[in-house]
């Protein structure tokens, strides 16, 4: 059985700067993995490579054994065609720090757009699916609201519903509470915890150490483009092995 996600020796540069310097990582179905690390260590970049929002020059990423973004033909590495990449992107759902809801569409339409255009659902079926997920994130009665008429926390919950309604194999979260007022953070974290309990496979970049500690099965500490340390949260947070992680934890808000 292939891993649900397998990253091997991932390398990524922006111009001359190498940002990912050989990342290896595997996840199984139902895993909840949190990625922590200081600013600029490459957490966002790694997530963006997984759904090809960034191209990468070295290494492979596979989901369910399917190589993402590139194929190897006669030992030549070739970027896949856009259509193929678009199809592969639907294997993952991504939630962004800035929500990125479509501002001209209602909460419901934000969710049905992909269901109709990508999943080719009929409108009634798409509406029913979208309503089910809006209900799950506690926003069914707000389905007709536009993003500008929702609070940050509500917008982020809609964005989560939008991503997960596509039925992805893996959900990617990039600091989804960082742009929120402190009093709105918990409603979003609660939604994610519920998803974790339901067995959703999730890879989360977060600065919420308490949350990472509580929700994750495994924690990855990114350090200067590499995985600096990785393990179960208890061991990581309470008995860090490396100096760098100990330092990082000291400077972050985990107590």
């Amino acid at each position: 059985m292939p891993h649900l996600l397998e990253i091997r020796d991932l390398h990524k540069s922006f111009g001359q700067t190498e940002v990912l310097k050989g990342v290896d990582c595997a996840m199984e179905q139902g895993d909840v993995v949190c990625v922590i690390g200081s600013s600029g260590s490459g957490k966002t970049t790694m997530l963006r490579c997984i759904n090809m929002l960034e191209d990468f020059e070295g290494g492979t990423i596979a989901i369910d054994g399917q190589q993402i973004g590139y194929e190897t033909q006669r030992s030549q590495r070739k970027r896949r065609r856009e259509r193929e990449i678009a199809r592969q992107r639907a294997l993952t759902g991504m939630v962004f720090q800035q929500f990125n809801l479509f501002p001209h569409m209602t909460a419901l339409a934000n969710i049905t757009l992909g269901l109709i255009k990508v999943k080719k659902m009929r409108r009634e079926e798409a509406n029913a699916t979208a309503e089910r997920w809006l209900d799950r994130v506690g926003l069914l009665e707000r389905k007709g609201r536009f993003p500008g008429q929702l609070s940050g926390g509500q917008q982020q919950r809609v964005a989560i519903a939008r991503a997960i309604a596509m039925n992805p194999k893996l959900m990617l979260f990039d600091e989804v509470t960082s742009a929120l007022d402190p009093e709105l953070v918990n409603e979003v974290l609660q939604v994610i915890k519920d998803l974790a309990r339901d067995g959703m496979t999730m890879l989360l970049v977060t600065h919420e150490m308490r949350f990472a500690y509580e929700v994750s099965k495994r924690v990855i500490f990114m350090n200067e483009g590499r995985i600096g340390e990785e393990g179960d949260p208890k061991q990581m947070f309470l008995k860090p092995k490396t100096e760098r992680l100990a330092e990082f934890l000291k400077s972050s808000s985990f107590h």
Binding site: R87, R89, G93, N100, L101, P103, L113, A159
Partner: protein, 220 residues
């Protein structure tokens, strides 16, 4: 010495003015519609990575914006047939006004496209949409809603510019006003009424468009 205003002659032919007004509105509507398509296509070329295309598009915008519109109208109507492209008066005028509107709107759209947050495209990509689906369902609708006020004022300008079609005898409002003037010699009355037609129409248009803008604006 006194000039006594006498509107009888203008009144008699007021239906001509209304006919002319109708055509003026049609000309403006057709031109903004086609102009939007030209402007959109040009704007996408302007922000694309293709150098040659970009220079071509920029050349078009510069050329049109620096030529008086009357010259463009006369050029299309009189010079193009010499080059083998024969168009009717109305088609020729709509063609010119569309090209003209396209050049102005290209600039407006270019700026507006650049100010659509790039996160929206990424969110679209992340759910598996194609670049084309992202443009048609997200980028263009958001951009158009943001430029509605500019579109409204462009439409009103174009409506006023339709009076230039009289130069090639397109039977629009100014054309009929001149006809009435020539036949009745009621100079002041004719042009007073014609001006009134323009003022009232523009005012009503502005009001209607403001309602449309409110309706279509992205709710916040």
């Amino acid at each position: 010495m006194g000039y006594t205003l006498n509107f009888a002659a203008v009144w008699r032919d007021i239906d001509l003015l209304f006919m002319g007004l109708g055509l003026s509105l049609v000309l403006a509507a057709a031109s903004i519609a086609i102009g939007c398509l030209i402007g959109l296509a040009t704007a996408f070329v302007l922000i694309s990575k293709q150098r040659a295309g970009r220079s071509l598009a920029a050349g078009y915008v510069t050329a049109i914006r620096n030529t008086p519109i009357l010259v463009l109208i006369l050029f299309t109507y009189f010079a193009l047939p010499q080059l083998g492209l024969r168009l009717g008066k109305i088609e020729s005028f709509v063609f010119t006004l569309s090209i003209y509107a396209g050049a102005y709107l290209a600039e407006v759209f270019r700026g507006a496209l650049l100010s659509v947050p790039k996160g929206l495209r990424e969110a679209g990509l992340a759910i598996g949409l194609s670049e084309w689906q992202i443009k048609s369902s997200i980028i263009i609708p958001v951009m158009l809603r943001n430029v509605l006020p500019s579109l409204s004022s462009t439409f009103i300008s174009l409506f006023k510019d339709t009076s230039l079609a009289a130069a090639i005898a397109v039977p629009e409002l100014t054309f009929y006003a001149r006809k009435i003037n020539n036949e009745s010699f009621r100079v002041i009355e004719t042009w007073l009424i014609a001006s009134l037609f323009y003022v009232v129409t523009c005012t009503i248009l502005a009001m209607l468009l403001r309602v449309v803008e409110k309706r279509m604006a992205i709710p916040r």
